[in-house]
Each structure stands twice: as C-alpha cells, then as structure tokens.
C-alpha cells in the first residue's frame, strides 16, 4: 500500500515502448456482463491522448480537452473516416486527470482523496474528491508506486474500469 495520498498520486502506469497497454471493462444496465476492450494508449506532445483499441475491433481515438476524434479506415475510397464527438463537460475533469496521471512527472495539483487498501488486500485504492469529477466517482487503483488502473463510477451507477497492463495485448 502507498504510504500516503501524495505517493499514490505520484504513481504512474507501466510503459512499454512509450505506450501503456490497457484493458477496459464497461458495465451498463443493458448488459449482462461488462463489455471488454484492449489496446494501448500514449500521449502526444500537444497533450492529446491517443487511445488505440485493438480488440474487439480496431479504432484510434484522439482525445483532447473537449473533443473526441475517432479515426477509422474509410469504408469507401482513400483516407480515413472521421467522427468527432464533444466530450461531455462532466467527463472532462476525469480525462484531464487521466492525462496528467499518465503524462506528467508530478502529481495532479489540488487533488485529494481517501486512501484505502485494495480489494484483494494487495495494493491501494485512492478515491478522489467529488469536486474533481462532479457527478462521477473517480478511483485510482495502484500497487506500490505503480498505477494499475482507474475506475469511474458513472451517474447511473455503472462502473467503467481501465486497467493498465504490464504486457502488450
């Protein structure tokens, strides 16, 4: 378990070739089991988070402060099909924190939370302040100084969990 909140906030995911392998699990009232996807993430110089999904289908997403740009090979002709979506304001602080946790050497400023032991008795969980995520609950999962995942509990109570892996999918 991390010694304190500051140490937990300083934890970073494992990087392989400057990329972070991940597995994402999304629960929803319409689903009997969570939907699972895998891929890698990395951060561009301008702060854009690139999420390259490999399974269950290939897709690249550029995530900026306010927009989500999905690029898929064009169904007809050359080039790529682009789909642009506005990130809902309530999700923006979460994504900003995620980017900070992945990219920056120092811990996100002005963030506090409650540190508890991990579910399986190993590692730690850091539930961040409600002010950060408004109607969402954001929890960091870690083991020692390694950030192993992020859990977002959405307004409808369905959890979305991103687990950082130590090997590429």
């Amino acid at each position: 378990m991390a010694r304190d909140v500051a140490t937990a906030l300083a934890a970073r995911p494992i990087m392989i070739d400057a990329q972070i392998p991940y597995r994402e699990e999304v629960a929803h009232p319409a689903l009997l089991e969570p939907a699972v996807s895998r891929g890698v993430m990395h951060l561009e110089q301008d702060g854009t988070l690139i999420r390259r999904q490999i399974e269950p289908f290939a897709e690249t997403a550029q995530i900026t402060d306010t927009q989500l740009i999905l690029l898929t090979p064009s169904a007809v002709g050359e080039g790529q099909d682009t789909r642009v979506l506005e990130i809902p304001p309530e999700l923006r602080p979460v994504l900003r924190t995620m980017r900070q946790l992945i990219a920056e050497d120092r811990a996100p400023s002005g963030v506090t939370g409650a540190l508890t032991p991990g579910m399986d008795g190993q590692g730690w969980r850091l539930g961040l302040d409600a002010a950060l995520a408004e109607n969402l609950s954001l929890t960091l999962l870690g083991c020692g100084d390694v950030l192993t995942g992020i859990e977002v509990l959405q307004a409808d109570g369905a959890p979305r969990r991103i687990l950082f892996l130590d090997e590429t999918p």
Binding site: A30, P56, T82
Partner: protein
C-alpha cells in the same frame, strides 16, 4: 484674345473644375461592380457571387504541420471576431449534448424507419452494435443514445451528419491538405452584397497574419478570388496609368518646355471626367466600374483637344471647329450605346459622350499657349511621309483576309489571377476534393419534407452518374434529412415485447427494454422539426448554408464533386423541382449578349456619326475620305486584335469606338487642311496636331499594352495599332493632297 481675357477664362475654368470636384466630394458616385448591370436588363438574373456557394471560401496556410496549425488557430480566432464572416472552421465541430439530444428526439422524423428496420433481426443487430459502441472510445458519449434506440434511426442520423465532414486528414487538431503542405480553414462570408474592397481587406488581413508567422496564406473561393483579381487588376492599372502618366508629362515637357501650360492642358480632361461621372450618377443612380474604366477612352480623346489647339498655334479658329465637330460626332457614336438596353453599355455611352463634349467646350475656351510645340524632326518626317493611294483599300483587304483566315470566335471570359493565386488554384485538387466550379444542382421545394423527398428522388440519377464515372460525389440535404411528411409513419409500431425479445436475442439484459420502449414512444409523439430549429444547430451550418428561403419555400444548392463535361447527359431527365445548372453559362451568355449589343450599337453609332458628319460638312468627298481612313485603321486593328487574342472582346470593341473618335478627329484635320489650298501654315498645323495627338495616345496605350493584365493589354494593343494606322494614313493623305494642289 487679350491677356486679361485669357486669364479671366482660365480662372473661370479653374473655378468650374473646383465646383465639379466639390460636387463629386459632396455627392460621391455610387461605384458598383455587380453583374446585374450586365445581365439584369435581359431578364435572366444569376450572379454566382451572390449564391450561397459564392460566399464559401478556403484559407490554405502553407507550412510545416505544427507551425501552420498554430497560425491557423490564431487566424481562426481573429476571423471569428470579424463581422464579415458567418462561419470559420479549422477542425470538425463535435455535436454538443444539446444537439445529440435534439437529434435523438427527432430521429424518427429525420431518419424514418422502414418495416425492415423494425423486424426482430434488425433490432437485435442494432443492440449488438450499441454494445460494441460501449467498448469504443465513443462509448462514454454515444453509447447511451445507441443503446436506447435499437431502431437504428439515431445511428443512421449521426452517421449522415458526420459524413458531411471534409475528407481531409487532421494534424495537430487542424485540417491538413492531402499533400501535407498546408493547414486548411473553411470559411463562409456573411450573406451581404459582394463588396470587392471589403473582401480584399479581409484577404490582406489574413495574409498579413500568416506572413507574421513566416507562412503564406492563400484564400480561395468565388468572392475571395473575384476580390483579389479586382485588386490585382486595379493595382496593375494604377501602375500602368502612373507610368503612362509620367511618360506623357515627360514627353509634353520636352515638347512644350512649359510646366504651367501642361497643367492648363489638363483642365479640359479633368472637367470632362467630372462631368462624365456626375452625368452617369444622375442618369443611372450609380456608376459601374466598367464604365469608369472606359474613362480611359475619354482620357485618350479629351487630352487631344488642347493639343490640337496648341498644334494649330495661330490657326486656332480652324482647330476649334474641327474639335467641336469631332467631339460631337464621337459623342453621338458613343451615345448610340444607350440603344443596347444594357445598363453598363449605356453608362459608357453617357460617360464618354458628356465628358467629351464638356472637355471639347473647355478646350475651346482655353487661352492660346505661349510656347509652340517643338517637334521639328517629327514634322520633317511627316512632310516626306508617303503611302500609295490604294493603301487604305489594301489595309481593308488585308483585314478582310485575316478575318477569313482567322474567323472571330466567342472569346472565353478570362480572369487575370495574380501569379501566386493562380498557382494555388491549380494545385487545389492535390490538396482536397473540391466541388465543380461550373456545375451544380438546384432543388426547390415547399418545405423540408418535400426537399428531402425530391433529394431522395434525385439520388438514383446521381448514383447512375457516379457509376458511369461522370461524377465523384454529391451530397444532398435529403441524404441527411430523410423526412417523409408531417407525421412519423404510424405502422408498424413496436411493442414493449419486441424490445425485450431483441435484447434477449442479443444476449443482453431484457429489463432494459422499458428504457428503450419509453424512448421510442417519446420519439413517436415528437412534432416534426422546422427549418429555424435546424438553423440553431451549429453542426449543420455548412449544410444549411446551401439552403435559401424563397417566397415559394426552400431552395437547395447541391455542389457536385468531380463533375465531367457530359454530366448532364448522364443524369438524364430530372425529377420535378430539380434543375441542373451550368454556372458558367449565364456569365458566358451575358457577356455574349453584352458583346453583341456593343457590336450592333457600335455599328449604329458609326452610321449615325457619319450621317451627322455628312450633314455638318456637306462635302461627300471629304466624308468618304474620313470614312475610308477610319475603316482601314479600324478594320486592321480589329483583325490584328483578333489574331493576337481570338474573338473580339467587349474591351476591344470599346477600344475600336475610341479609334472611331480618333479617326474622325484626324480625318477632319486633314479635310480642313485640304479645304485651305495654298495655306501652308494650315497644312503644317494639321500635321503638327496629328503628330502631337498620335504621339501622346501612343505613349499612353503602348504602356497599357505592356501591362501584365490581359484586359489592359487588349485595349492597349488595339488602340496602339489603330492610332498608328490612322495617323500614318492621314499624314499620307495630307501629303498627297498637298502634292495634288501643287503646294509642295
């Protein structure tokens, strides 16, 4: 005339000039550059610059990715604050939560479902797709909508809206050209009449911003190009006028060696220009820039009058008669242009006619020049100048032969693009797919639902043309909005059980069916959207910019990408309310009519001028000689102009009208010399006048012929050739007359 008399007249003329200039300052002419003055008088009104597509534009910022993207962002910020612009976009705009909610509510109106969409397998497939969306990065934004709508209406709708985005890559969050050389910024100008100056100011502002970042900006779009061409032509015309003016002043200083006399000589010209401007403004309520441009014709003649007087020295009385008669004859020829019924031609006629008469009257009131022109070497040359008697006939025959060998065709409308802009336009297809500048479709309908239906009816013909390779792409509003009518089709209607079954089949939680069913019921009872509702959605702005509200309903302009020349044939018969437009045709036809009108009324003007001259001279022999000299000069100039640039343009026709005026003046001088046998001074005065006037005209128009602007070149070459021919023929005629009367 005594000295005090001369000074009083000069003061009076100076006061008149001051009053006219003051009048122009108080009532500045309403300068227009609209096409209506060229086209409207014939009933058919179409000006591509006033169409929605004419207001669209593209800014290319050429440079490395990061630098160009940063510059594009800054430029976009500045442009967004500019009231002249209605839209500035450098990257796809994401639909906001409000827009997504709106589309979700109206989904069954905008994307009505067929029976096949509502069958269990289709609902199950949509549930699968929505579950996949949860795994996607878009899951947090879109999945909730997709899961609640297994009919697929929302999914289709969002797909269609997003398909409207430009098919170009994104780099550093900004659209980038396909050749990776430039950042792209899409803009739309506000719906206001085209103002070339204001648009050019916008172009210069953007160029300066890019230049500050060490980059180049090219602005492309119908209005943007028109403004740049106009500014380029204007700048080149000013430069040419400046050079020509400088050379003229230098030449007149060499000839007269009296700067004050030079200033006095300009008085009739300035008064003539002022009178011309004020007359056109008073009669037409505006002054078209084309009419103003042909003030050059006035300049060419009005400056000749004081030169004729100076050339005549003591023989001023003869010269005055010649000037007044010449001015009246030329004014009559120009006034005939009023008969064409085309506003701009009428304006040219009134401008030159009134200006010329005013200039001629002022010139006649000028006091005598204190210094005589010094052109002795030219005079000696002219005294010996000979041409065979039949040379005028030979030139006419040569012109006829040239016309037979190179028959005049309809000249293609040409634009003189600045070099860098021309390159940018040529390279554009490498950078992004562009709609045809020539062809478009126009769909007219009573309301959105009918527009959508007519678009759907048009779609098979478009697909047929695409399959035949005659078209790459066309996007209709009906492709996005597929409204069928005022009500959502009531049958078949889904029940709660249908949703439960579809969820179960997809391996999902059947309990969620109640959420889906409730959303479905809400969509069924939502009233249909109206145009103002759509206008509130910024994401639809580029699409709705192509939509116009008309008294009859709505009009949509459909841009066509990769349209071939024979596209109309491939589209076949069009559904009701749909028209295939050749955007260039109205311009081509309008210019052809303008040219035809100018040619006909030019001929009528010449006949009227000859008739008037015949009555005034009462000397058929002299009249025939003037007509012969003019015909030779004019026909060969026209033939050579046609040889250099196939087809006689409107500019060349008006240049020929100017030559008519010059040939009448020179012919009258020759006739007056011939009418005074034994008066050697009169003959010398005529020669001196012709040489002086021809030299100044040549200096002005030969400079114009060297201009890089096509229009100026055409006018310059035509007048230069013509004045050379007419002067050469007239001087030879004077010499022949002199020999025949034994004065030599």
């Amino acid at each position: 005339m005594t000295r005090p008399q001369g000074a009083r007249r000069l003061a009076g003329l100076a006061a008149l000039m001051a009053m006219l200039l003051a009048a122009l300052l108080i009532w500045p002419p309403d300068l227009r550059s609209d096409a209506a003055a060229i086209f409207s008088d014939r009933g058919e009104q179409f000006d591509p610059l006033q169409s929605p597509a004419g207001r669209d534009g593209l800014v290319l910022i050429t440079g490395p990715r990061a630098q160009a993207a940063a510059s594009a962002r800054q430029i976009a910020q500045v442009l967004k604050a500019d009231p002249a612009l209605a839209r500035v976009q450098l990257a796809p705009v994401a639909p906001s939560r409000e827009v997504l909610d709106w589309l979700f509510r109206h989904r069954l109106h905008l994307a009505p479902r067929d029976a096949a969409d509502l069958r269990p397998p289709a609902l199950e497939a949509r549930n699968h797709a929505a579950r996949s969306a949860l795994s996607s990065a878009q899951g947090a934004v879109l999945a909730e909508y997709l899961l609640r709508d297994p009919t697929g209406a929302f999914a289709d709708l969002i797909e269609r809206v997003q398909a409207q985005l430009p098919k170009v890559p994104l780099a550093e969050g900004v659209w980038r050209s396909r050749d990776d050389e430039a950042a792209l910024l899409f803009i739309s100008l506000r719906d206001a009449p085209f103002d070339a100056r204001a648009t050019q100011a916008l172009v210069e502002k953007v160029s300066a911003l890019a230049k500050r970042d060490g980059l180049r900006a090219d602005l492309i779009g119908p209005r943007l190009i028109a403004a740049q061409v106009s500014a380029h032509t204007g700048a080149m015309a000013s430069l040419t006028s400046g050079i020509a003016g400088g050379l003229l002043v230098l030449w007149l200083l060499i000839v007269f060696r009296a700067p004050l006399a030079l200033a006095v000589m300009m008085l009739p010209l300035v008064i003539g220009l002022c009178v011309g401007l004020l007359s056109v403004q008073a009669l037409f309520g505006q002054v078209h820039v084309i009419a103003l441009g042909f003030g050059g014709a006035l300049t060419g003649l009005a400056l000749d009058y004081p030169l004729h007087l100076a050339g005549h020295g003591a023989q001023r009385r003869h010269a005055r008669r010649v000037i007044l008669l010449g001015a009246a004859t030329t004014a009559l020829a120009f006034l005939m242009m009023l008969g064409a019924g085309v506003s701009v031609l009428g304006q040219i006629g009134v401008f030159v006619a009134t200006g010329l008469i005013a200039a001629a009257l002022c010139a006649c009131l000028l006091p005598p020049m204190s210094s005589a022109p010094r052109i002795a070497p030219l005079l000696r040359l002219a005294e010996k100048w000979r041409l065979p008697r039949a040379s005028a006939f030979a030139l006419i025959a040569l012109a006829a032969l040239l016309f037979v060998l190179y028959p005049p065709t309809q000249p293609a409308p040409k634009a003189d693009l600045p070099q860098a802009l021309a390159r940018a336009v040529t390279d554009l297809p490498k950078k992004l797919p562009m709609p045809s500048a020539r062809y478009a479709l126009r769909i007219e309908a009573a309301d959105l639902a009918q527009l959508s239906q007519r678009g759907a009816q048009m779609r098979p013909a478009i697909e047929q043309a695409i399959a035949a390779g005659a078209l790459e792409r066309a996007t209709l509003i009906g492709d996005i909005i597929k409204m069928r009518g005022a009500r959502v089709p009531a049958r078949p209607e889904l029940a709660l059980g249908d949703f439960e079954q579809a969820l179960r089949s997809a391996g999902m939680a059947a309990g969620y069916a109640s959420v889906q069913y409730q959303a479905y019921r809400e969509a069924l009872t939502t009233p249909p959207p109206r145009l103002p509702d759509l206008a509130a959605l910024p994401e639809l702005a580029p699409i709705l910019a192509r939509l116009e509200q008309t008294p009859e309903g709505l009009r949509e302009w459909v841009p066509l990408f990769g349209a071939s020349e024979d596209l109309a044939a491939h589209l076949g018969p069009l559904p009701q309310g749909v028209a295939f437009l050749d955007l260039a045709k109205p311009v081509r036809d309008g210019l052809a009519r303008l040219r035809q009108g100018a040619l006909i009324w030019f001929a009528v003007g010449i006949i009227a001028a000859l008739g008037f001259l015949g009555l005034a001279l009462r000397d058929h022999h002299a009249l025939a000689r003037i007509a012969l000299l003019g015909a030779a000069g004019l026909s060969l100039s026209a033939a050579l102009a046609n040889l250099i640039s196939p087809g006689l343009s409107i500019y060349e026709i008006v240049a020929l009208t100017l030559l008519t005026g010059i040939s009448v003046d020179y012919g009258l001088l020759a006739a007056s010399a011939n009418a005074s046998p034994g008066n050697r001074a009169q003959v010398t005065a005529a020669r001196r006048s012709i040489l002086l006037c021809a030299s100044t005209t040549l200096i002005a128009f030969a400079t114009m012929a060297c201009s890089p602007v096509g229009i100026l070149q055409q006018i310059g070459l035509t007048v230069s050739f013509g004045v050379l021919m007419i002067a050469a023929l007239t001087l030879a005629q004077v010499r022949r007359d002199q020999m025949e009367t034994g004065d030599d």
